[in-house]
């Protein structure tokens, strides 16, 4: 059973942007908000060279890592080919305008 943690209000995450959550269990997690207000969470660590994904540019449901432009799909943490790899992703939900993260 995962533990749902309240993170912040949806409005505190910029559209096509991210916030950094520091969790005791997993370290830093990047929480993203898409243009259509979907919320995703992945470990804030690019599988390439550990770049902070939270700082990347968000487009569609994908983020481009700020260090070397790897692209990561936010729904499942998979790296967009031809690069290969994946990053741990976490379940999220938005209830009454509050963002929750399953840890």
């Amino acid at each position: 059973m995962s533990d749902w943690k309240k993170i912040c209000a949806l409005g505190d995450v910029p559209v096509l942007g991210a916030r950094v959550v520091d969790s005791a269990s997993h370290g830093r997690i990047a929480v993203f908000r898409s243009a259509s207000d979907e919320v995703f969470a992945v470990l804030d660590k690019c599988p390439h060279k550990a770049g902070p994904l939270s700082q990347g540019i968000v487009h569609g449901n994908t983020v481009t890592c700020p260090l070397h432009s790897w692209k990561i799909q936010l729904e499942d943490g998979q790296v967009v080919p031809p690069d290969v790899g994946c990053v741990k992703h976490f379940a999220t939900r938005v209830t009454n305008g509050e963002v929750f993260l399953a840890l």
Binding site: L16, D22, K49, I57, T64
Partner: protein, 820 residues
Amino acid sequence: MRKLKLVMVGNGMAGVRTLEELRKIAPEMYDITVFGAEPHPNYNRILLSPVLAGEMTIQDIILNDLQWYADNGITLHLGSTVTAIDRNKRTVTAAGKGGETISADYDRLLIATGSTPFILPIPGNDLPGVISYRDIQDTDEMIDAAARYRHAVVIGAGLLGLEAANGLALRGMDVTVVHLSDWIMERQLDRSAGKMLQAALEKKGMKFKLNAHTAELVKGESGRVCAVRFKDGETLPADLVCMAAGIRPNVALAEKAGIHCNRGIVVNDTLQTYDPRIYAVGECANHRGTAYGLVAPLFEQAKVCANHLAMYGIGRYQGSVTSTKLKVTGIDVFSAGDFSGSDGTEDIVLHDPGAGIYKRLVLKDDKLVGAVLYGDTKDGAWYFQLLKDGQDIRDIRDNLVFGNAHLGDVGHKGNSLAAGMPDSAEVCGCNGVCKGSIVKAIKEQGLFTLEDVRKHTKASSSCGSCTGLVEQILASTIGGAYQPADSTSKPVCGCTDHSHGEVRKAIREHKLLSVAEAQAFLGWKTPNGCASCRPALNYYCLSSWPHEAVDDPQSRFINERAHANIQKDGSYSVVPRMWGGLTTPAELRAIADAAEKYQVPTVKVTGGQRIDLLGVKKEDLPAMWADLAKAGMVSGHAYGKSLRTVKTCVGSEHCRFGTQRSMELGVKLEKMLFGMWSPHKFKLAVSGCPRNCAESGIKDIGVIGVDSGYELYVGGNGGIKTEVAQFFCKVASDDEVLEYGGAFIQLYREEGFYLERTCHYLERVGLEHVKKAVLEDAGQRRALYERLLFALQNYKDPWAEIVEDSSGGLHKRQFEIIKV
């Protein structure tokens, strides 16, 4: 609704590429049936030479395996030759591989039957051991003959003939190349280059017989060919004869069906034949009088044809300029355009027989129209680009023949000739990619463009300084299939077909004020673009419509969002501005205090005359800025596509040689330009005398004080490509420096493409264009200058903005971490 039926005759590169393009834009529109006469799925025909040379296997060169056809729901009939097209009933009939009759109905028919080798009409041309060089079967036969026989004769010393001869020689055969003309590859090379190439190939063991008219192929006792007899009576022993004397568009089927043909199936700019339901692409098609025998134009045709099959109805194929590159390991030959030297053309020739280098450039009306390179082809791609773009080369004429690398792209010196490089040689110094990995990726993944290579190998995808080298490797691996994109019409990124120029124009003419508005207006293909196009669009909106366009922080790279430079470990660096490189004890004290308070691990003096605090945590940035602000310091924009610094020397304030007050002018310039966003970073320098201690020669704008005033230089660059700034003008006063310099900057801000430094901008538009706008037309100069000042007025220090945060906290929140 019933799906339309598309039938394709021919299963080669041009046809299948069209299907691939079609699946991308209209995957559900057609039920597709493909007939291929060969028993193989689509393979990379241009790589048959390496297969023959024993460098690759058939399996390596398959482009679309059977699974691909299955995955895309395509019905594939292999080994099936189409025998008739009934245009009234709209059906095609084919003889299947078991002899059975297959027929298929069509709503649209795509003919991609390619070409057939020209067989000399001489006695004995049908003997066993006489082959052409076109497909896998020919290649297999040649490999087989090489294992059993000794003498081979190749008829025709064109690209294909020489590659065949090279492969056979490598497989141990004694090869003579027979050719009708005076020198080899006469359609691609001039005499000098042809003779040099011949000498190099002779060193590899090939023999040549030129001016030779073949009269007959002689039958031996076994029934197989045994010799070639010439018109002069001479004979040459031959157990294998390979005819490579040219190709003919394969039009028999189309002609039989009554479709208009004339040295190829005649098509219009949409690749449509005279029957509007029938299209033709590839080597079988005749477009505006040309049937192309190289791969690159076929890909362009495929794209346009797919667009019309998908009923989008946009895009025209307007013909291609082609280039050729011989794929013989260790030999570099390149040619492009027209070098026959017609009326009104001029030649620039560099010939160094000792070094084995020959370059001939053909110019007409200050434009490059043809190029032949032998021995040193590293600039081939660059010449080809100049040629395709039709760029005016007046300004660079005196250096043209030395190529664009003569001043040095740093990072891979000593490795300028791709063909001679060992596989282990590093090509891309940023990402550590060696030649072998690039060649492997090109072959195994079937890559054709620089973009593909960048995506798959990362080579040339960071600083780009090895781009020429990568293009050269690409060209030597795939030969004539290589086609650089038009630099001026290249789409911004995969999200759109529009070029930078078109996007800029639309934003200006239709007053588009935000990234989202521009994307909607221009029909962006992706919902919110990507990390390449969004920053560009944001800049174009802001620079076109200052104070009106909406800046979108989320469309800016993190450095411009966080107003600091991200480092490899995710920390940031902070560079406070020091106007003109000047500082005070109080500022230095504030910097020292901040460095200690926030435990900055590294403090470094930068090349732009200020201090860099490296390794700051993002969450500490606003507090650190607030501390620095107390000493009156503001952002140095060391992170932005914006004004960086104005470097100065001491000047006449102190220096015994100084002629002008360079520090004072530097501070004036920097204050004027504070907060200026530009297509790329922008650096200036002011030196007080021609000793030039501030290094004005390698800045976007360099000012040099002389006794009577100032000299202005533009377009210098000390980065990847060291580029010396060009003299722009001489002015008398500080105010004129601001006005002339400001006008130049504004022109660049309005016309430059995103991520184009001034040196590349000038290379594209020409210094003359800029001089005309800024120097010759005083009215335009003042207007430009005023537009610059208008755009910059009321700019507020971004650090102070975030510290004060009038946005309701959202700006500041990006620096806060949520703990759970």
